[in-house]
Amino acid sequence: MDNLKKYNQAFIDTFRISEDQLQNLQYQSIEAWDSVGHMSLIAALEDAFDIMFETDDIIDFSSYQKGKELIAKYDVQL
């Protein structure tokens, strides 16, 4: 699976949503992406890419798009 697919899949599996919901997805814009869901998403992404987010990046991870920017810091090319 390529990296973008893995990235998307983490959102799809964690929040049980479809791919067409991803582009404008923001923290707390859907019920499943609350603070509990947020940590589950982080764990899913860390597992998928074998990385460990810094606490500040977990806080800054405010949307699907912002996450793409942040994950690049960990040498993950989407």
């Binding site: 940590m39 982080i42 764990a43 597992d47 460990m52």
Partner: protein, 246 residues
Amino acid sequence: MARTIFITGSNRGIGFAVLNKFSKKEQDSKIIAHARIETPEFLEKLASLKNNNIEPVYFDLLDTENLKKQVSAIIKSYKKIDVLINNAGVVKAPKSFLMCDENTLRETFEINFFAQVFITQLITRAMIRNNSGAIVNLASVAGISGIEGQFEYVASKSAVIGMTKRLAIELAPYKIRVNAVAPGMTDTEMMSNMENNLREKLLSNSISKRLAQPDEIADVIYFLTSVESSYINGQILTVNGGGYVF
């Protein structure tokens, strides 16, 4: 069930009693045994436990950056952590509140509170992956009654109590339980920083008329991580032999 257990300040006192307890009860569990520095005494103690599943890790709780680096490395290599015992702590030489300098205040809080917060914040992430976990913080009766210690120690242990209560609420959705043990006076090196007359007065007024042994505290800590305590959450368990009669 084999678990992964992380114990801070495991080289002596209550921390070593906890390490000893887990090491004997859970031969197959992985135990990450933290100490500030590697010493021949600690290595000797580890060897005496005859348990090949203990990995020592060393960092100073006052060095926040290194602490975060080390704990992150542990999480990366272990992935799954089931139990965290926030044991390490410090009590400084007795001083009255009005004589308490800024360094003493900040250092006590750095070790007794902030270091525990940062460690817990990281370890919790490994627990969330499993959707399970047990955290036990070392509070103190001093943090409840205000009697048995100096100002900054009492205040830092009260902060640990607040942290325990709040985390129990915030981490419950991930099935992580957070409790604290509040020991009374326990027979470790820490007691040497209590004023002698206060110590004697407290002992003579205590119901049990003796100090706790570190093992007696370790037993309760172990219990709070076990399935036998699965419905205990957000509690501050006082282990003080019954307290005092004045």
